[in-house]
């Protein structure tokens, strides 16, 4: 298997997860990177991506894996045939499917435009309750790991997977509470329970 880290920028942040999967599959076909198929009646290409990112959120830290016997320079082959917004930045052969959808537990994001606020104070709160997209009340405090200010940007690490907190939801909470308008949310790192490429 080949595991890879890739970007979702330059418009690709608006692709749906299924369309992104299709893009990656077609890129591999164009690049002559063979893709194994699952067995069964509805055979599908064995490409596995990390959990879907919310629409409009850019990322330089997406992860995926493909079952392939390709032996050349994967990054070069892929990038020569991929859309501008979907580029591989790192890759390795791995023994088995790293299952990024499960092993990524936290993600780090940055955003511009949130009014400065007292971060220490904010993080000292025991519970922060918001209404999620389905209208349910949830305590997001346990899903917030770090918040830092770096120049104009806010850098924050949130839970992912089972413990997921959408960065856009988090930002709109901060906007409401502290003011400003979050621009240019970018996922900069995916933090895994194990190593990046096993």
């Amino acid at each position: 298997m080949i595991a890879f880290k890739y970007t979702k920028t330059d418009g690709a942040e608006y692709l749906s997860h299924l369309d992104l999967l299709r893009h990656i599959y077609r890129t591999m076909r164009r690049a002559d990177i063979d893709v194994a198929y699952s067995g069964g009646y509805h055979a599908h290409p064995r490409i596995f991506l990390n959990n879907p990112l919310g629409t409009g959120i850019k990322s330089v830290a997406e992860y995926g894996a493909v079952e392939s016997t390709f032996a050349g320079d994967f990054m070069e082959a892929f990038n020569s045939r991929s859309p501008d917004g979907v580029k591989v930045t790192k890759w390795a052969y791995v023994k088995e499917n790293p299952n990024y959808a499960n092993c990524i537990v936290k993600c780090t994001y940055t955003a511009e435009g949130i009014q400065p606020f007292d971060i220490d104070n904010f993080l000292s709160e025991k519970s922060i309750v918001i209404t999620d997209l389905r209208g349910r009340e949830v305590d997001i405090r346990p899903r917030i790991y770090t918040v830092e200010r770096r120049g104009d940007r806010l850098l924050f690490t949130l839970g992912c997977g089972e413990n997921n907190l959408r960065p856009d939801l988090f930002c709109s909470y901060l906007e409401k509470r502290f003011g400003g308008h979050a621009e240019d949310i970018i996922k900069t790192a995916s933090i895994m329970s194990g190593d990046e490429f096993v």
Partner: protein
């Protein structure tokens, strides 16, 4: 100026399928600075336009000559309304350049119900709709082309240039003249109007008599259809942008032939694309391989009006199978009944089998020159059933000239025969037949161009007959919306007097009229009424001595030929395929079939 999509984020997050509007497709046009900017506009959604081969051919014809060509599709109403409210002009896909900054915008008119969308796109681009309101100011040249351009008169007051016929060469020739004239000057229009395939509405005046009927055309120019004689060497885009989101057809398209030998009398495409021109097996194989390699698609569609008539089909299929990478499937979307055989059928996916007998009885099929017999349908169906098909789709038309109730009832007979053919052997699944019925629309440049379209009451009566006769197990019946067909009929045979109606309808809120859920019947009726135009004037039978609004265009086929064909229709005489014998339509000089070369 360019539009920055990052600044549209709040809008993009709120609309359905934002990736329609972001560009960034793999294979999108990368335009170096250019002396001429052409925007290929498509007045329908991204996923419809992206599946259209014609617009890619036109764009390629500009790119080949060193001009810039970008695309723009009609944004769905959610995005359109939002950018309008935000004051963001409609922009092109790859360059993100406002449409108003292009030198020329060319709209592809695939069917008449897209006309309000053309106004919608101009409006979103901040370009005055009417030519008169653009005069003397720096706006792009507004051009139209595509099948509807054979009667562009309803749009004559809105557009500057009409491209009639094959777009491979002439569209880009016009760009050259534009540059020589230093813009859209009077000289530019005069010189363009001389080209084969170009019509400049401003340079023609339509004369009306006291009753308001057309009594003449005044112009120094005679618009003629452009015909690419050598399709094999014609421009073809060897790579094409791959859409961001799932589109109507996610596959590579090659055009096997242009034109159709058959001459079904209701079918406009069968006449306006004459004569039949083909590509060679080598060329098609090369094009298919290059498209598959450059797009990553896993299906190639072999398009034409009647791919089964391609004389080298077997050879082509063999060559494609031998040259394309393993796993690439072939789609043959327009196989006719009589050319259907199981060897080809196995290449297509076993979903359902489609036949378009168009008329229920042999009598009426002879009238419309649809040369298919019951036996042919049945033997094709049977061989398909034997390889596992269990669903049949049948297409019919209602309201055809000379149609009587027995012709309609004969549809039942076809269904029964198909059912008993299916029942002759034990099959795993039960048979499903779906019957779709559309309303006949008389079109310009067909032998039926003079015919009336059925009235609403007639259509309803005929539909009731069908409902009663086709109430059988396993058969589902559906029809196209009557109002939609009527609107299409009005604009298909329309004239310049429809301009105010069209504009009014758009101002009232009509757009995406081809989408059933968007069509606003009441607003259209209001527009006709406010403008004092009776749509019935356009759907009525036309007198043979009348000057028809499109008579000034030389499509290459004699009007007498159409009249002759109409008489043959009334006598139920079939005119055979051009492959077998030339029936002298007027194109003999340009037609390889007439010269016996096919």
């Amino acid at each position: 100026m360019t539009v920055n999509i990052d600044e549209l984020k709040d809008i993009l997050l709120k609309v359905e399928k934002p990736s329609r509007y972001t560009g960034g497709e793999y294979g999108e046009v990368k335009c170096p600075p250019s002396p001429f900017y052409f925007c290929m506009a498509f007045p329908d959604l991204y996923e419809v336009g992206m599946s259209n081969l014609g617009i890619k051919i036109v764009a390629e014809s500009f790119i080949k000559r060193g001009y810039a060509a970008d695309y723009c599709f009609a944004p769905y109403t959610d995005f359109g309304d939002a950018i309008k409210a935000a004051g963001v002009p409609l922009y092109s896909l790859a360059l993100k350049k406002p449409l108003a900054e292009f030198d020329m915008i060319g709209f592809s008119l695939q069917f008449e119900l897209c006309y309000t969308n053309l106004l919608y796109m101009l409006d979103l681009a901040g370009i005055p709709l009417r030519r008169a309101d653009r005069a003397g100011k720096k706006y792009p040249v507004i051009a139209v082309g595509g099948p509807c351009a054979v009667n562009p008169e309803p749009l004559a007051d809105f557009v500057d240039i009409v491209f009639i016929g094959d777009g491979e060469s002439v569209d880009a020739d016009v760009a050259g003249i534009y540059l020589e004239c230093g813009g859209a000057t009077e000289e530019f229009y005069r010189r363009a109007a001389e080209l084969e395939g170009v019509y400049v509405p401003a340079l023609m005046e339509v004369k009306y008599d006291k009753e308001g009927h057309i009594c003449g055309f005044e112009s120094n120019f005679k618009p003629r259809r452009a015909i690419v004689c050598d399709l094999d060497n014609a421009i073809f885009p060897s790579s094409q942008p791959v859409p961001n989101c799932e589109s109507v057809f996610d596959r590579s398209i090659i055009e096997v032939m242009r034109g159709c030998y058959r001459g079904c009398r209701f079918c406009q495409a069968g006449f306006i694309y004459r004569p039949v021109r083909q590509r060679s097996v080598e060329t098609l194989t090369r094009q298919a391989c290059s498209l598959i390699a450059s797009t990553g698609y896993d299906e190639v569609s072999l398009n034409s009006l009647s791919t089964g008539d391609y004389p080298h089909l077997r050879e082509l299929l063999r060559s494609l199978k031998g040259s394309l990478p393993e796993g690439v499937t072939l789609a043959l979307p327009s196989l006719r009944v009589d050319s259907f055989d199981s060897e080809f059928a196995q290449d297509a996916r076993k979903i359902s089998l489609t036949f378009a007998p168009e008329a229920g009885s042999q009598r009426l099929r002879d009238v419309i020159n649809k040369d298919i017999t019951e036996e042919e349908i049945l033997s094709a169906a049977e061989s398909a059933f034997d390889i596992g098909y269990s669903a049949v789709k049948l297409y019919f038309m209602l309201g055809l000239p000379t149609e009587n109730d027995d012709d309609l009832k004969a549809i039942r007979r076809i269904c029964d025969l198909i059912k008993s053919a299916y029942g002759r052997k034990k099959r795993a699944k039960s048979l499903r037949i779906s019957v779709s019925v559309s309303t006949f629309i008389p079109k310009p440049f067909t032998p039926f161009q003079w015919e009336a379209q059925c009235t609403g009451e007639e259509v309803e009566r005929k539909q009731n007959i069908l409902k009663q006769t086709l109430y059988i197990k396993g058969v589902t019946l559906s029809w196209s919306d009557y109002f939609t067909s009527r609107l299409e009929a009005v604009f298909a045979r329309g004239d310049r007097k429809l301009a105010p109606v069209l504009e009014r309808a758009y101002r009232l809120g009509c757009r995406f009229d081809g989408w059933t859920k968007e069509l606003k019947k009441d607003l259209w009726e209001q527009a006709f009424e406010e403008c004092g135009v009776d749509p019935g004037i356009y759907t009525r039978e036309r007198g043979t001595d009348e000057i028809l609004p499109w008579d000034f265009i030389d499509i290459g086929i004699d009007k007498k030929f159409f009249a002759r064909e109409r008489q043959r229709a009334y006598s139920g005489v079939v005119t055979g395929s051009c492959k077998n014998a030339c029936s002298g339509c007027g194109l003999q000089k340009k037609c390889p079939a007439a010269r016996g070369e096919i």
